[in-house]
Symmetry: C2
Amino acid sequence: VALRQASERLEEFALIRALRGRFSHRDAEVIRGIGDDAAVIATSPKQWWHVTTDMLVEGVHFDLGTASPEAVGYRSAMANLSDLAAMGAVPRYLLTSIAIPRRCTAAHVEQLYGGLMKACRPHGVNLIGGDTSASRGGLFLSLTLIGITRSGQALLRSGARIGDALYVTGTLGDSLAGLQILTRRPSGRVAKPHQRFLIHRHLRPTARVSEGQWLSRARLASAAIDLSDGLSGDVRHLCEESRVGVDIELGAIPVSRACRAYAKASEQDPTQLALSGGEDYELLFTVSAHRQPAVEQQAKKAGYRITRIGVIRPRRSGLRMRSQTGEWHPLPLTSYEHFCE
Amino acid sequence: VALRQASERLEEFALIRALRGRFSHRDAEVIRGIGDDAAVIATSPKQWWHVTTDMLVEGVHFDLGTASPEAVGYRSAMANLSDLAAMGAVPRYLLTSIAIPRRCTAAHVEQLYGGLMKACRPHGVNLIGGDTSASRGGLFLSLTLIGITRSGQALLRSGARIGDALYVTGTLGDSLAGLQILTRRPSGRVAKPHQRFLIHRHLRPTARVSEGQWLSRARLASAAIDLSDGLSGDVRHLCEESRVGVDIELGAIPVSRACRAYAKASEQDPTQLALSGGEDYELLFTVSAHRQPAVEQQAKKAGYRITRIGVIRPRRSGLRMRSQTGEWHPLPLTSYEHFCE
């Protein structure tokens, strides 16, 4: 299953790359087009706009049998907020396109919007437009979220340089563990509070919006991406856009106590959950050597959990990871496709 | 069928209004949120950005049995371009979200993009981003298009004033006539060139982008909307947003020779095709009394076909139309829902 998912995603990326090459006419004010977490446009000499769009499709990204419309709305908004967090942008404007199947009621649509706004309201996002349609298939939700930075201050995927340290925020793998608890047979051997924590991390992820702004405003990070496809896939995107390689220390990857307990009970490698688990919505970012002391000091002061997990290498050395026993392996080609069966 | 479609659309509008009331937090720079053809944001003291999003759903807005992926892409882009035309904005940036069913091939997706870009390229639109997903239902396409005007120069739905004249560009009803020719039994009694003209108007509509910019730049029009739902429905939107009534002269509505010939052969009232036919993508706009001479003179010089079809009245007099025999009727509650059966 994992392999099929990976190949589907790889085809998607190949298709997007091909279209980028063929169709993307780019005027001077387009700082970044297709390929980053969001497009970046210089709207004035002082300001950049960041525009991201994400689609959630019933039966592909969610199942209304296991997720409420409210949860779908919340997670959909969070995926977009996370794209902007990875740019260091302040989220500002939201547009929503929703295709609604006949079996959905007005109450469902209201719950969906309730979830959207629950995620967006703390950030002061304005709902400025959208489109609504009937659907003969399932529920479709496409969001466009616009954020702002000062000009020149965005975090891009392409800024990583050889020798930069690779960091992540928070802990990885929790969301996948939470999903497994929700969809597989109950894990009686994992303490209830751990299970609740992991399920919450899955259903109520938090985009690292303030961490992204912190990293971009003082130009602390050289590059960033959000972890939506899983560490393995997203570190690949970052390295491709920056044209670099990477060495990752598997033993350094931050895994929560709850995730460790769940991994033990379900006889899985917790690092594997962290590598392949999508939708953690943590930030993966790089920091040049001379800024690392400032980053670590400021993170501590602000209460941001950040962990150094590797170092950027020349492109020719490839994407490698070192196991806790010291062996080097190539980064696996796994990419977690959301709720996909 | 018409009644069911109308009630579906009315429910949609009611839902959108309710959501606008409950969720739309509006910061000072948001000039227009939900409710106009596009949202309007003041991005700098000199510039306004216009953001519109439109969704096309297989089985609702199109049928891949009768429309090619290229036509779907083209028409989808044109619907968005028309929204910006109605604001008088210069179209600039496009984002595309596409959910692709398993039976669609890479060639289909390329054709879809080909249609999109065929519509957008003449306007120099930049494709800056998007999202792609599998679909377990049909093909879904959600576009977000961003355009620009100088600040204060946008045409809004809300600017119509009592005494303003009501104009339309081009001819109305052609698209519906073309659709009927495509989907009903052949109309042998209508000359082939007329049939070709009407089918072309349906499959290859033209958004009135340059007309919209002309009307906005010199502040010639007081309000505008594009005709996507049909004259009857769209004049209602304009009057609601401007809080006015309207008198329409049915005899003045411009109908093409081809549409007249088709209406006669199919025993329909051509005015009815014009009132209820959607997707003409002409502009409906209002002009204050003292600007009418300038508007008519400049239109003639530029080769823009515009026709005066009515006058704006106080809200209390309602939405009325006068038949060619001089009787007054209330504007009918019909709203054409695209390709929907």
